[in-house]
């Protein structure tokens, strides 16, 4: 049987790995005690300085003027429009990427064909490409001076500097997440169960629904969570295509930028804290999913 690729060293696989909390560690090697203390101290200090402190800063700054000021940040119409747009974008991008992710991982994990690693590299692309460039390529395609620009103008369709552009850019940046989460899982599970179902007379859809889906449900759930977190938080790509039209083409991250540049720090951090909470929820959900997946 052909050796399945070791998934964990590609970019996307590392991204999807960014979930697993350490499994049961092997028997501790006999590092001398002083070394253990030193390494532990270095690691903890490094992590605290780079991670803990900035995270705490978000909430500290948001609450600097008190709880009242915190909540009034959400009262502004612009901010509310930004929140609505962000949710709308996620609501479109995530399901589409979910379908893509399932289709791609089915094709890649269950079949052998030439060009598979090229395909996987293509799927990894958004991870290696700067978000700014991700946005830029859409401007070059759909913008007024873009390739399809004149055609779109003739038909009175605006994509860039409008909501559709934002949605497209978000899709581009987040489409690998579900796929990259599912592929290693499905590869590891192999094709035996599906083969068995086929021999027992199940159709393709039945096999998928009753055999494959239950096996991948936790990975799927987690991929969706990650995709969603990234969709709501994407900044660079959306910044390029949105045009920053207040109240219309601003997402939450863009709104944060605007507030910050206006020196409205408390409001900026208050809105940012929403995303920070989302990030923390994502991390916690990851841990739960990992535990469930191991129990299963």
């Amino acid at each position: 049987m052909e050796q399945l690729e070791k998934p964990h060293l590609t970019m996307g696989a590392v991204i999807s790995r960014l979930a697993s909390p350490a499994r049961a560690a092997p028997r501790a090697t006999a590092d001398p005690a002083w070394l253990r203390c030193l390494l532990l101290a270095v690691a903890v200090i490094f992590l605290s300085v780079f991670l803990l402190v900035p995270l705490a800063a978000v909430f500290t700054e948001a609450l600097r003027r008190g709880v009242g000021a915190y909540f009034s940040a959400f009262a502004s119409d612009e901010t509310r429009a930004a929140i609505k747009l962000t949710f709308l974008t996620a609501a479109i991008a995530v399901p589409l990427n979910l379908v893509f992710g399932v289709a791609a991982s089915w094709a890649i994990a269950k079949f052998q064909f030439r060009g598979k690693s090229l395909l996987m590299t293509l799927i990894d692309l958004p991870f290696a490409v700067s978000p700014v460039i991700s946005g830029l390529v859409y401007v070059l395609l759909f913008g007024a001076q873009g390739w399809l620009g004149p055609w779109l103008e003739a038909h009175d369709i605006t994509i860039i500097f409008a909501v559709p552009g934002i949605v497209l850019a978000t899709i581009f940046v987040t489409f690998p997440f579900v796929a990259r989460e599912l592929i290693p899982i499905m590869q590891a599970q192999g094709t035996d169960e599906e083969m068995a179902a086929i021999t027992l007379g199940a159709s393709g859809w039945q096999t998928f629904r009753r055999v494959t889906l239950p096996n991948i449900k936790w990975g799927l759930f987690y991929g969706v969570i990650l995709c969603n977190a990234r969709a709501m938080g994407e900044f660079g790509a959306v910044s390029v295509v949105s045009g920053h039209i207040r109240g219309e083409t601003n997402t939450i991250p863009l709104q944060v930028e605007i507030l910050y540049n206006e020196y409205n720090f408390v409001a900026a951090f208050a809105v940012a804290s929403l995303l920070a909470l989302l990030a923390m929820a994502t991390i916690v959900l990851k841990a739960i999913v990992e535990r469930k997946a191991h129990e299963a």
């Binding site: 790995r17 780079f50 893509f100 978000p131 390529v137 001076q145």
Partner: protein, 278 residues
């Protein structure tokens, strides 16, 4: 829906459908826009391209982007190794929290990270206030860029190393110990060579991520042209000035760099698989 074997080779159904949809999606979302970039670039002559891609301001931004990304990736590789080692091999209170925390730069939107880091390292910030008396300016300087890029790449090395460290055969270290090697020798001669492809991959991933990073850097860097301006920001600036030619040229350079890094990562994976074959 009955299943008839469509071709003698494929027993499981749905290949055509799944692959077809995948390719369609990829084509529309990825390939089409990318080719637009290429075509736009073709609108430039070589001379124009070269001029746009190597003007002094642009070169300064390359130096910063590439230089800081390399340095940040290096920092992350060194410290990331320690963090991964500690998380895999030691137990301590709060370990699960720290382990989850490693994912923060990945889960946190870049803009939020940007303003948070700026707040922390600004002259009156929590850490900035300790650095100022020492004459070190963290925010609005290249150091700030370095800090932001280190933040963003942190999970990559740690998460790449963790599974490999977990799978490391303890017997090899025991064998080395039996043969008389002390811990340092074992680390240098036995463990690190085993981990080399993984370390390099983590480095490459962190580097690739840092290279293209925008959101977390633009707040803390101050964006002074020729000093603290990273290439992605320069691209946006050119776009806002409707300098499509310039923006496209830069984008092509960065895309080329991204492809190179992806290729390196792919090769590293092949190398690692070759080494790990039984």
């Amino acid at each position: 829906m009955t299943i008839a074997l469509k071709s003698p080779r494929r027993v499981l159904p749905g290949f055509g459908l799944s692959l077809g949809f995948t390719l369609l999606y990829l084509g529309l979302i990825v390939l089409l826009p990318l080719s637009a970039t290429v075509i736009k670039t073709l609108g430039l002559t070589w001379g124009q391209f070269w001029q746009e891609a190597t003007s002094p301001r642009v070169l300064a931004s390359y130096r910063l982007s590439f230089g800081a990304s390399l340095l940040a990736a290096g920092l992350n590789t060194g410290f990331g190794f320690i963090v991964a080692w500690v998380l895999v091999r030691y137990s301590f209170p709060g370990k699960r929290i720290f382990d989850g925390l490693v994912d923060l730069p990945f889960a946190l939107p870049t803009a939020v990270a940007g303003i948070a880091l700026t707040a922390v390292y600004a002259p009156h910030g929590w850490i900035g206030r300790w650095l100022e008396p020492l004459g070190i300016q963290a925010a609005f300087s290249r150091l700030g860029v370095l800090i932001a890029l280190t933040f963003i790449g942190l999970p990559f090395v740690v998460r790449t190393l963790q599974p490999v460290l977990e799978d490391l055969e303890p017997e090899m270290e025991e064998a080395a110990a039996c043969l008389g090697a002390n811990r340092l020798q074992t680390l240098r001669r036995v463990i690190l060579p085993e981990l080399l492809p993984t370390l390099l991959t983590g480095f490459a991933l962190a580097f690739a991520r840092a290279l293209g990073e925008y959101g977390s850097v633009v707040f803390i860097s101050g964006n002074l042209p020729m000093r603290t301006e990273i290439t992605p920001l320069l691209i946006i600036t050119k776009l806002e000035q409707y300098d499509y030619r310039g923006a496209t040229a830069l984008a092509v350079v960065m895309l080329a760099a991204s492809f190179c890094v992806l290729l390196v990562i792919n090769l590293l994976q092949k190398w690692s698989n070759w080494r790990n074959r039984i």
